[in-house]
């Protein structure tokens, strides 16, 4: 079995979470991982 394709997102405020959600919906087989330097995610929108 081939390894899952991995999408990495740097930043978890507004653009990052929107990108993560859309990517996962478009291709549910994608492995999605998002890195955020602060304590909170999805705070800037």
């Amino acid at each position: 079995m081939s390894k899952k394709e991995k999408l990495v997102i740097i930043g978890g405020s507004a653009g990052g979470p929107s990108a993560a959600a859309r990517a996962k919906r478009f291709n549910p087989d994608l492995e999605v991982i998002m890195f955020e330097q602060g304590q909170f995610v999805s705070y800037g929108s």
């Binding site: 929107s18 993560a20 990517a23 705070y43 800037g44």
Partner: protein, 393 residues
């Protein structure tokens, strides 16, 4: 608004690592380095597709004492928690707000709600200096009615500190003002450093260059949000407009394309709204000066009209300014201010800008009318009717 990493995992199967800072990207090997900030550990990972959504950070004035602990900036939730905690603990009586943009203006309202003496320092003659004079004058009046002290043409040059390292006064090019805390609201800088070091190209504005597919110049790296540029459909220029609604749209496109799709985000017209005390302010498109800079033959029209039929409760006077090309009548921008019916009203003109409509077309638009909502001739239609007279025949 705020969601937890657990919610992302459970609802969408997205893994989220907070307090993890990506410090280095190697696009050749498709690898990157992450520092776990809580443990100060560095780890290496690989990617197949990468999306850079590093956002922007608050700009700080480069003057002596600018990193004192009672100087605050406001960009994210953490910043607002710091500000609130400081006020709760120290009960500052007086605050100096530096910068008359919408963060500074919104915070003037917040500080007055806490009954603090609020001083707003501005480089220019009026608050929201990027907007048209007629709009900025309404904002100034609203500030004054709510006891905000507005100080025009003040350029901060230094902060005076006490032995605890706290600001006790602020020195400007004109005078000295004692203060208990400072909010610095002088704009943002895109976070482009790790991208630039990896070879990602920046645009003229200093933000990351992109296209309508949210690609960068490097393969398998997309970009979204405040760290990148966006295309302005009115000026036909790539600009840096760091706003959350744009970031969300760019994010969707970057996400879809990173997952193998072919989505596009064609651009913005430049719409935004904010509230200062009771006053709603909204704008879309270009202002007079920007439109002139882009070489348009600029005309403008200002009117004041009732937000709904005058005898209805809650009717308020609103000011509407239209900016247009006198040569062909095309709308270039619109700005409004008033205590009711402003923020939503601007959206119809945002649509007009997307559709490159002319003043004459706008004057005949079929807007919904009933006394509780509008007037038989909506303020936009009145303004367009007046503006039409200025188009070169």
């Amino acid at each position: 608004m705020v969601r937890t990493p657990q919610q992302f995992k459970e609802m969408q199967d997205i893994e989220v690592k907070t307090e993890h800072q990506v410090t280095k990207i190697d696009p050749k090997e498709k690898k990157f380095e992450v520092v776990n900030l809580s443990k100060s550990e560095t780890q290496g990972f690989s990617y197949d597709q990468l999306i850079i959504a590093t956002g922007a950070r608050s700009r700080r004035l480069n003057i002596p004492g600018n990193d004192s602990k009672n100087i605050f900036t406001l960009k994210d939730l953490q910043d607002s928690i710091h500000i609130k905690n400081y006020i709760d603990e120290k009960r500052p009586k007086r605050v100096a707000v530096l910068g008359g943009g919408f963060i500074g203006l919104e915070m003037c309202e917040a500080f007055r709600l806490r009954n603090m003496e609020t001083y707003l320092f501005c480089r220019r003659d009026l608050p929201a200096g990027n907007l048209e004079k007629e709009i900025s004058e309404k904002i100034l009046k609203e500030l004054e009615e709510n006891d905000v002290h507005f100080l025009a043409y003040h350029e901060p040059v230094a902060f005076k500190l006490n032995s605890n390292g706290e600001v006790t006064s602020i020195e400007t090019n004109k005078a000295h003002f004692p203060t208990d805390m400072v909010l610095m609201a002088v704009g943002v800088i895109p976070n482009v450093e790790i991208a630039r070091e990896a070879g990602v190209e920046l645009g003229q504005t200093g933000a990351i260059r992109t296209d309508t597919a949210q690609k960068t110049n490097l393969a398998d790296i997309h970009v979204a949000g405040d760290c990148c540029e966006v295309f302005n459909l009115v000026s036909q220029d790539w600009v840096h407009t760091p706003l959350g609604d744009i970031a969300n749209k760019q994010g969707r496109v970057a996400g879809e394309n990173a997952a193998g799709g072919r989505a596009t985000f064609l651009g913005i017209v430049g719409s935004a709204a904010f509230k200062v005390f009771e006053l709603e302010v909204a704008f879309t498109g270009l202002g007079t000066q920007a439109a002139q800079r882009y070489g348009f033959n600029v005309g403008s029209q200002v009117i004041e009209a009732e937000s709904k039929v005058g005898y209805m409760p809650g009717a308020k006077r609103i000011v509407v300014k239209l900016i247009f090309d006198r040569k062909n009548g095309r709308l270039l921008g619109a700005q409004m201010a008033g205590k009711e019916g402003v923020a939503r009203r601007i959206n119809s003109l945002a649509v007009a800008l997307h559709q490159k409509m002319t003043i004459n077309e706008i004057a005949r638009l079929d807007f919904a009318y009933a006394p509780p909502f509008s007037a038989p001739l909506d303020p936009i239609l009145i303004a367009a009717e007046q503006a039409a007279k200025k188009i070169i025949k």
